[in-house]
Symmetry: D2
């Protein structure tokens, strides 16, 4: 039986791709060695830098986000190099696993998943490393599995305070285009991004924004690399081209996405995400449920993970919501599997779609018999409604 | 400044066109004299009959809905013929105006717009017409300007009881595919439909479902006609073709729309609309506002018109909602201009989109300073939430 | 079995709709009473005037081309009015048939279909009509069934020379956007156009470009009209709106089409069509076949009708071409059914697509065993190839 | 100035993406952890195997083709392993370069680019390698830079005859879906494919079809890998899922592409490519130019590289063709830069489009003043025209 109406894709990415982007991609592929392509190439290469706030090169890979993690590591590091990572959640853990597979020696600071990175712990570990064995600090800006963000400036300051020369690498896959981020200003060496979240594109592109210190490191780095190698990419990118076949149709979409973000204004984009996140947390609170992130300063504006009451299955709730209301919510991953569900409120979203989303959750909680109060949507609406107009 | 997110088009038509239909239309136009076209032609001609529940011909015009009104009149009537119409609202009044322009003598029974047709009044008028001067009774099934429906079976019965031979013509522009309708079973002679409401298509197609008595009448009818003439249409349609260029790309969409309605099941489609209408009325009631339709039996499942508190402008509210929440509501028309606004809940809609819609109205009422209570969305959710699952 | 590759739609309309237009139409329908719509409405209403070269109103109907014929007649004429028409081919004959159905008295000058209108015959008939019984002269600019054009300026001059006050109405359905046309400059009173040929849109829109004399005539005209009535249209169009539901998605496409024609430049568009028509005629000549149009001055730039050798079926050839090469050619209509086939070379076309088209015809002639020589494509290429570059 | 008509993308990939595939991709991205996705995942994973004719796993990477080269190497080999490669052209040379960057020891058999792999040379080298230092033989099935194919069965036989246990890896990026290929039957261990050629998709997906011997090798292989690792991919693919975010919208297109190839029938697809290639070579011959590939048995059915007369620039010709006829041809690469141009005739192509393509080349040769004869298109048409029908 057909289900009427538009599916609500409220996972924390991929996000709802706007029609304008889908339509921009729905065009014949062009010759990737033509002048027309070069104009497109230059446009997206420059454009995406304004989103990362990176004045240096941003490498665009025709590969989904995980690839850009690998690229950041293999371009800057050598076999057995030590890297400092921090367990903010599932994705930080996956990055660690990748680093180990690639032959790196990972120092993984344990975290409880309910907050972002503790910058002081980073600083302490670096201070202890008098031999400077640690070559890079890798942190996740917005941990998609938990809805906790990390204060990247604080990490930078802790690193600076320690006087340690390690590179700083930051994963912004689920924060870019949703939460303020500043590659240059915050002194990040490699920023790792993807297309399918705040950039509102389908998955298939990923990014390395690269600072000068990372470029230097890449010249000495001895991890083997070819597909991911920055060197040829950056060199060929200068003309608007790519050393191997780019994902042209996704680049059409990227050009459109960059325009759309600037048409709205990045600050407006961030404010909108902040507003929707606060409305969502007020709904969670009104339902009598618990936001998984326990540190207010770490609340994510991209998504909200919600802790289920003990003994209740998050996955059963998600299935109920999907079956009854045709809405997808994010699942809890690994350590918090079935214990949390995640509401994505990032990307191309407005107040009424958020209200519909929270309505779906509230009805789903009732329908699935999860102990909770009504009134979450009302609380969100109370917050979202602007002050009455004076007449 | 770009506004993020998807526009909510909650007017009572055109409705939100599903992606699947837009994509079906986004194809090269084909030769309208080819075998491939004939297969398409037969498919849509047969398919649309199942939606009208009409076993006779359904003429498809490459023209928007108003054209099909004209077609119904010019194919069956002669200059100065008397027709009986009933003032259910703005659209019934426009149909009358058209009939007069076409040289017909309209007997227009006045109504107060807050209910559907009073079948007994029709019956009485017909009984008085012993000379059978009245050649047709024309009524609107669902008056889009008011949100009041008419009991077509009751009209039929009143006509039958009067023993009067007038034709029965029914406008189902905003009910077809939303509210149960049965051309054959209810003894309708001409049914007038359009593409842009329950059929979920863009505007540009309209329909005359034609019964045998209407076919007979058309043979004697002397109003001039060419573009709208049934005769050549029906004859050429037999082979899957059209006598002049059809709106091929809209026919692609129509084929898809018919499939989609049957995939969901027409009875499910009607039940869904009834459920959404009831939820909407509960919201209106909770807001302390008044549903414009005063007769429960006449409540429309396609749209709900809401009466504004005295002294408050419906158009100002609509503008507030559009500006603040990127949602379009229907305006009050002519007699009720600025006094009512209309919430469309027809076409391709699900619970969470309806919840978002009602949230936009509720926030808009607050923001515009319209005296009203909160809690409308909550009332709707309470109604929409299925009984909790037993576990 | 699937047939690989892109279908070649080389009928004289509908033409190949460019992706850019299809994609422009592949967007959600908007509220036709909104400010956003008004901007669109104004844009297309003004834009389309630049294509007709008409400074007065251009009425846009949400109906396919035949409707605009009817509109031209019912807005300007009264029952039993005499109109002068000229048999240039199938479509002129259909227009006559329509006029008769609408109650007009048609004086139909016979023609042999192999040339355009003989302006002197028009002049003579008007001079004879001392009582000015003839109210309008209706001619087809480019007769789609024959590939013969008419010199509209010559008709105008003949009318002026006769001192007769009849209106001049011109059908440009298959010439607009392909062959130079100037409503104002040529003194036309009503120009009738459609969307699916030179405007490169799918069928579903049609046009009346209206001059001041026609406006005056409409005030006295007594043919019944409502859907087609100019009066309310023109009045409501002033604000960018339409009196009844417009075909919004086709209007999206129209806005794009007007932009595209101006981006290329109308004079370039006409020169391109002239070049492709000449190349096609050279191919026909090289094949040893006969261009149906016998008057060089009347050669159409939109299409070329080709006469089959006696005893050979044009429809069989067309079917062979369709089956073997997935290309649609136009059929001969009524008087020339099965005796001519028509090659459409209008709309969004380039040299290599034309070369492919002619190749399909040449191979089809061979395959179907039609007596003919090879070398048509070569002749076309010889003509199409620019002079070698000097180096 | 806008250029009218459809661009002819006649490079040897990316190829012209059919509307049906573009439209399939023009849909909202879905949750990649949902049941709906799992059905899609299973469909494409199974489907693509039928194109590779591989009964084992086919790994689908959300990355463009070059990535799949890297994947083949890093999954099966260890640092300093020796691999035997063969210089068939630019792409074979790039693969060699990649292997060296990844730390492999490449034995690169020199070739003159004008033929495919000499299988006897492979056999000889393997026989000499009594110590079995060579771990893999890597060859390109269809060298996109030269239009020469390699007889993979002959390579297999030579390997078998030598009794050498090296793996056989084959790049089918520009042959898959155009030229017959049989992973299982031909005893290939790893086949490397991409989306943007015979599969008719935009770039962004690539493939490793994997045989059992390669799976075994991967368990011992010590090159570092994470993103490209088969192990987790194959394990998670079993459920229809992917270990990291897949390129969902490209997978929509892939499902459609597989259906389309089977609707046409793979053998018909190959026959069509063979026919178009032969027609193209006849045109080249008639022009008095030289097909770059000198070995008839190596002629590619995907593309034809054409050698320019001495002293004439291929790139200038290509620019002339692009500027005058809006058609893209492939450039000569590295060793043959500016000396050859390449005509792509693979993917979704029919006879009339090929005829248009060859017309564009023939006119371009004239226009650019390249010494050549006319008559190439005619020669192609003579070949393409089926025998006349008996009547």
């Amino acid at each position: 039986m057909r289900i009427a109406g538009r599916h609500f894709l409220q996972i924390p990415g991929p996000t709802n791709v706007p029609d304008r982007i889908l339509r921009a991609m729905d065009r014949p592929t062009i010759d990737h060695r033509s002048r027309e392509f070069a104009a497109l190439g230059r446009r997206v290469l420059e454009g995406v830098g304004t989103i990362f706030k990176c004045s240096g090169p941003v490498v665009i890979y025709p590969a989904s986000g995980t690839g850009a993690w690998e690229a950041a590591l293999v371009n800057t590091l050598s076999p057995d190099d030590r890297v400092l990572m921090y367990e903010t959640g599932h994705f930080a853990t996956l990055w660690r696993k990748m680093a180990e597979r690639l032959g790196l020696d990972v120092d993984f600071i344990q975290g409880d998943w309910r907050a972002g990175v503790d910058a002081t712990a980073i600083g302490a570990r670096l201070k202890d490393d008098v031999a400077h064995a640690i070559k890079a600090v890798c942190v996740v800006h917005n941990e998609t599995s938990t809805g906790c963000t990390t204060d990247i400036q604080a990490v930078r300051k802790a690193m600076d305070a320690s006087g340690h020369p390690a590179l700083l690498m930051v994963d912004v896959i689920s924060s870019l285009g949703s939460i303020d981020y500043r590659h240059d200003e915050w002194g990040v060496d490699v920023t790792v991004g993807g297309s399918q979240k705040g950039l509102m594109l389908p998955p298939g592109l990923s990014f390395n924004a690269v600072g000068p210190k990372a470029i230097s490191a890449s010249q000495a780095a001895r991890l083997k690399r070819s597909f991911w190698s920055w060197e040829e990419m950056i060199s060929v990118n200068a003309g608007g081209f790519f050393p191997y076949t780019p994902a042209t149709n996704l680049l059409y979409g990227l050009a459109e996405a960059v325009d759309m973000l600037h048409e709205e204004g990045l600050d407006n984009v961030f404010a909108r995400h902040a507003r929707h996140a606060e409305a969502t947390r007020r709904a969670v609170d009104a339902w009598g449920l618990e936001v998984f992130c326990v540190n207010e300063k770490s609340y994510s504006n991209s998504l909200t993970a919600v802790l289920m009451p003990a003994g209740h299955s998050a996955d059963r709730l998600r299935q109920t919501v999907l079956d009854a209301f045709d809405m997808s919510l994010g699942s809890g991953l690994s350590k918090v599997a079935d214990r949390v569900f995640r509401i994505g409120h990032l990307g191309d979203l407005n107040d009424v779609t958020l209200a519909g989303t929270l309505s779906g959750v509230e009805m789903g909680l009732q329908l699935a018999g999860v102990p909770s109060r009504k009134g979450g949507v009302q609380a969100a609406l109370d917050f979202l409604t602007p002050r009455p107009e004076s007449r």
